[in-house]
Amino acid sequence: MDTVNKPARRVDALGKVLGESRYGADLSFEGMLYGKVLRAPYPHARILSIDTARALALPGVEAVLTAADIPGFHTFGTVIPNQQVLAKEVARYQGDGVAMAAAATPALAQQALDLIRVQYQELAGVFDPARAMEEGAPLLHADCPGNIAAHHVLEKGEVEKGFACSDIILEREYETQLVEHAYIEPEAAVAVPQTGNRGVTVYGSIQNPFSCRKALSRILGLKLNEIRVIQSFMGGSFGGKDEVMSALCARAALLALKTGKPVKMVNTREESIREGYKRHPYKLKYKVGATREGKLMAMEIKIIADAGAYASQTPFVTWRSVVQATGPYEVPHVRTNIYGVYTNNCYTGAFRGFGSPQIIFAQESLLDELAEELGIEPLELRRLNGFRQGSVTATGQKLDNHQVSLLEVVDKAVEKSAYLTKRRQYAAQRGRFRKGIGLACSFRGCSLGAEGVDATGAMVSVQYDGSVYVYSGLAENGQGLQTIFSQIAAEELGISLERVRFMETDTALIPDGGPTVASRSTLMGGNAVRLAAAKVRETLLGAVLEKLRAAAEELAWGGDKIWVKADPRRSISFEEAVNAACAKGELLTQLGWYKAPKVTWDDRHGQGDAYFTYVYGCQVAEVEVDMETGYTRVLKITAVHDVGRAINPETVRGQIYGGVAQGLGYALLEEVQQYEGEIKSLNFDEYLIPGICDMPEIEAIIVENPDGYGPYGAKTIGEPTLEVTAPAIASAVAQATGRRVRQLPLDLERVLLGRSLQKDRYKRREGGC
């Protein structure tokens, strides 16, 4: 291979480094107005009246809109469309928009908001999901008794029998926190009314242009072909620029269509944190039974996830959790129940990991705790129970269509980190500063699985001068998709990467290929690009064969030319091949469409072949804990991930470094402070993410077991890198301190005292440090 499996430079790097790439907030159009949103002051309130007259009277204000002005539905959503663009009768969380204004300047728009008079009737709120499930709790959505947004069950074997056959039974409760994506670029969008046509074009920091278009169609009451969504460069997303961007784009579009002028809307950081969805906090109850030797017999799991005010991706997030909740381990008897529950908290949705970081923290901690009870090294417990070729998962899926490399990645991580030596070395320490080492591993289903339709497209278009466009329905989110897709197109056509230009994702130019989520782009979109390029190559081949008078098998493609293997002097350049094909009137533009292999799911029992392939990863963390202050430093992370095939080893490593950084934040620092529905940490002075000085050495090790389905054998890397970091760190901290913390994050207070104090802070209404 010439281009694939090589560390190609990112195709979008130069523009970004030179500051030339245009992000959502950089866009500007003639006569553009600025929009601002007024948000609810209460987490739960009935809107009695809205008086916009004074705001409208302000010179320079061109429109003031409320839910009453929305031509289509005022709600949208991928699974359950109950999220409000603007709150109609009831505001369900403090991020809900109530009214909005467009004016000549942002300051005027803000001033207009100050002049809107809203009368509210405050309603009783519910902020604890367990309480929200109880009878008599305030209901968020009339059609959802018990505030249940999602409930998934999984039944395998007979769990009671499994516990009866166990020598040891352990019950533990774990808890994870509300987490903010913290992308560097807050949400931004510009909506431009189409001239000469009905409809609107929207540009912005949009993770999923097609999801956005679908929401807009519903809200604006326009046909899909009347809405064009064009993605700008993205300053990060991590799953976070889906629904919140659909809402922003819809608002901008409503204002634009009302005024007939382009309208730009950009959230401040505070607005972004207040309104944008977050990663679900989970409360997890695990009960595990095992034999004396450590063989897992049964697990019973009950999980409650805080969905916040709207459904968003909760049904899917919790579904991934139910599939993977027992981890990469053979457990004959399993019962899992997971509930996603509405509350008047900030809503929660997609975030890198998507239901896996929470359960992996719990299940990996649990395995450590079980090992300790049994007097077995945690590593041994994993070796004893870990998936092997042909293992059967909790959903009854036999893992036999791909290389099950769990133990391979574990062994490699153990070896590279000197885990066992250090584990012994750190076993008996006394000083003020103590070290610890811990490991965590996971398996992860690739792409959407049985969530729903899984297919995507890409277009490869060769121009008559031999330059190439690649278009894709999946979108660059900063992860390196453009580079990977360009590499695949170049490889398939035997040309250099420089010939390929990747076009921004534009819903008018390419079919809807689903969202850029679930670490599916390389696997799904990569296949689509490969198919498209292969079709073009097939067309070129016809022309080449005539020129070189050879059979297809005799030819080699690469380095911008095609030659006869036996006689390399008989060759033609790529341009010549393109010219010859064009001269014959051939079509050198092709669409590739890739449909995922079949998966199955039985909702009643939670059984089926949930995903068509899986990846495996293991990370080892080494930490040093200040025993007198609880301050924890991560010294090193050894991260081993099987990616099937690294299309670009450098971008794979980039994913690993980034995932570890986010995982480290999840482990030690990050927690959105929300008290009775009000978010207190609205900016990065209070919401701390790791900085460069907090980052340890990261040894990133790529394992390649090519997959039968993926392009060149490539699978997935985006999310697995983040999901195992926190449990590895927690395990290392437990070794260092001799005490396990069962709640994330392991901040100063939890490590020193075993509990957080933040709730007290807000209960007592005390500020400061």
Binding site: A107, E628, G691, D694, L753, L757
Partner: protein
């Protein structure tokens, strides 16, 4: 959005004149790393005039005279951290300045701003307190000197009058026999305000007995102060592990006596440890 008039006086006299005219509707802008943030919030709508003093080079100096160090308020943290005069004569202040924020903040934020902003967690304040610093306050045609602990009266509160400016900070250099310690605890390595900090200066006689002690913690009391109860435990002693621990406990006791807050269950053990470490650092014994 806030609108205000921006003035850039060329001399201190001009700046003081502007202050005399505008009084409480004016704010002095030094590095702006505190002021600009508070201006962004809506509480500051009373501020109509900003007096940018960054070009007043006469307020930017580090001078050593006799055995005293004199600092202009516009001296930025990076200068303090790097100054040979300060590293040699007031090492704890250099250490505190080096720990602030990030390179950007240290290149921009001034010691004057740190003092006048008077955050409980301000990192230069405990070292300055331990050094016995005094501050010079000037208004048009008049000036006065105040000890730092009298100047800062509470969280974000000082004795600065509306028409006054802070124009100098002065203190005696540490004698060669003195040792110092500065410890700071934050939630991450950089760009994180201190949860607590503590500055210690100990001078010992030839037999190792402590003849003078200053212990000044930050983010422990509502307004910064030395803790005599802790200092007294060390005075006249060759401090051993036990005494050092008691001194730490005395700081914690002073904190809890002032009231228990949400953070007290954590801060109580942690400040004991930090104080012990700062004392050990001052005594030049291993503290890890």
């Amino acid at each position: 959005m806030l609108e205000f008039n921006l003035y850039r006086p060329g001399t201190l006299q001009e700046a003081l004149k502007l202050l005399a005219e505008f009084k409480s509707s004016a704010r002095v802008l030094a590095g702006g790393t505190d002021l600009l943030i508070s201006l962004g919030s809506r509480e500051r709508e009373d501020v109509k005039n900003i007096i940018d003093i960054t070009s007043l080079r006469e307020l930017d100096f580090i001078r050593e005279e006799d055995s005293r160090l004199r600092l202009g308020p516009l001296t930025v943290h990076a200068q303090i951290a790097d100054s040979p005069h300060i590293r040699q004569g007031a090492g704890l202040l250099a250490a505190a300045a080096a720990a602030i924020g990030s390179p950007q903040i240290r290149n921009r934020g001034t010691i004057g701003g740190n003092i006048v902003n008077a955050a409980v967690c301000a990192d230069t304040v405990p070292p300055l307190l331990a050094l016995g610093a005094t501050v010079k306050l000037e208004r048009l045609g008049e000036s006065r000197w105040l000890p730092l602990e009298e100047f800062i009266t509470g969280p974000n509160r000082t004795g600065l009058e509306a028409d006054e400016m802070l124009t100098e900070i002065a203190f005696a250099k540490l004698p060669a026999t003195a040792g110092w310690g500065f410890m700071r605890l934050a939630r991450r390595e950089a760009m994180a305000i201190a949860r607590m900090n503590v500055a210690v200066i100990l001078d010992r006689d030839s037999r190792g007995r402590v003849v003078s002690a200053c212990i000044a913690p930050g983010a422990v009391l509502a307004s910064p102060a030395r803790i005599p109860a802790a200092e007294n435990i060390l005075l006249g002693q060759c401090p051993d592990e036990e005494r050092i621990h008691q001194a730490g406990q005395a700081v914690a006791a002073a904190m809890t006596a002032a009231g228990r807050r949400w953070s007290t269950p954590y801060k109580e053990p942690a400040i004991i440890a930090l104080t012990e470490r700062a004392i050990k650092q001052a005594l030049e014994v291993e503290w890890r």
